[in-house]
């Protein structure tokens, strides 16, 4: 082993981290080479003396300082944690790669589009209101038409036409003029059938107290047995007590049919 090689080992030799064989090789060289021996000895002395170098020991103050620093750091990091909103936004931004942003944007666009289409398809609700209004107008017009037809045909010479006229008033709304026409037909029409149909037509307006009063009044004016019986039935149906007086009047008529007489008596009994 030459000097150069041995000196390469110096660092390891000082730290005593040579293998046994390496160490013995180095020591063998040192025995023969005075120069190396001197250098190694001097180095070792230096190395040992370095161990004696005293370093002032860090004081307790340092530990206190450290603890303060640690606490401060904890506090500030807690505050930072609380203030993460902008940080969060930044993270989202980092997360949103252009491709992902595009995809997300596109899906949002689709959702928006779907919403708009859905809204548009639902919005014909407004036209339907107009449609209903139109129907209402039309229905109103039909009503008016029916009333007009009733009034126009009720004076017709043909009994069939007059029945049709009364038929028009069925399902129509009560109108003063129509009611007036119907009552005049009921009281004075020459045809029994027309009167019967008129009576039937008038029953649908019987909820009106005025109509009932008129019906009671009209009782005295009837001479046809069929109409009288129909009216008597009607009075029972509506439980119209006011009619009892009129019915009694009717009983006093001399030419009263027996059947009608019985019927009226029965009616009076039912009502009283």
């Amino acid at each position: 082993m030459n000097c150069e090689h041995t000196r390469e080992q110096l660092a390891d030799w000082l730290k005593d981290c040579l293998t046994k064989t390496e160490k013995s090789e180095v020591e063998l060289h040192l025995i023969h080479c005075l120069q190396c021996q001197e250098e190694f000895e001097a180095s070792r002395q230096l190395w040992t003396t370095m161990n004696l170098v005293q370093v002032s020991v860090p004081g307790e103050a340092m530990k206190v300082q450290f603890n303060t620093m640690l606490n401060d750091y904890k506090k500030t990091s807690e505050i930072e944690k609380k203030r993460t909103a902008p940080d969060w936004i930044r993270q989202v931004r980092e997360f949103l790669t252009p491709q992902l942003a595009l995809q997300l944007g596109f899906s949002l666009l689709l959702v928006g589009l779907g919403w708009i289409i859905g809204y548009r398809m639902k919005s014909p609700a407004a036209p339907s209101v107009a449609y209903e209004q139109q129907i209402d107008t039309l229905a109103g017009q039909v009503q008016k038409m029916k009333q007009m037809m009733t009034l126009a045909l009720i004076d017709n010479s043909s009994a069939t036409e007059r029945i049709r006229a009364v038929g028009y008033s069925m399902g129509a709304e009560a109108n003063e003029r129509v009611l007036e026409a119907l009552f005049s037909t009921l009281n004075s029409d020459s045809n029994v059938n027309v009167r019967l149909v008129t009576l039937e037509a008038l029953t649908q307006f019987a909820a009106d107290p005025l109509v009932r009063t008129e019906l009671v009044k009209s009782l005295a004016q009837q001479d046809s047995p069929m109409v009288q019986i129909a009216m008597a039935d009607l009075m029972v149906r509506f439980q119209e007590k006011r009619s009892v007086k009129a019915l009694r009047e009717l009983l006093k008529k001399e030419d009263l049919n027996d059947m009608v007489k019985n019927k009226i008596e029965q009616t009076i009994k039912d009502l009283s």
């Binding site: 003396t49 370093v55 860090p58 750091y73």
Partner: protein, 166 residues
Amino acid sequence: MGLLFERYHRPLYTFLYHMAGRNDACQDMVQNVFLRMLKYRHTFTGEGEFKTWMYHLARNVLSDHFKQNKAVGYYDVHELADKLDGGTLADSEFESRQDAELIQTALAILNQEHREVLILSRFQNLKYAEIAEILNISEGAVKVRVHRALGELKKIVLKNNNPRTA
């Protein structure tokens, strides 16, 4: 963290003390190193030794310190030279202590590169492999550097020791 402090604040302090010197500045630097440990704990991947990571941080703190003070070493060389000349303790029982002081001052005169490698290997008792990792050089280069540093140190010591022994 407290445990780390207990375990490492002395070696760190020794390292920084030898590297930089001043006591108060050293304490601050030790604090700084621990603060950086907290701040940059995510950079410690767990691969490699914690010690080497710590010395990396310490070296950064140290270089910041030097930049701030705009001096590569901060000992006043002239003052040290005076100290070396005037250091005459005759008593033999103080001799070793004097030698130690001599070495300490000589270390301070040594250039930073050499000083560092000696501190790490001798005072910090790190293996050459660890030092190599800290300094980012090969293990062989560390050994060469130790050898040269010792040579330089010897020269300084001898040069200043001669007047005393003469």
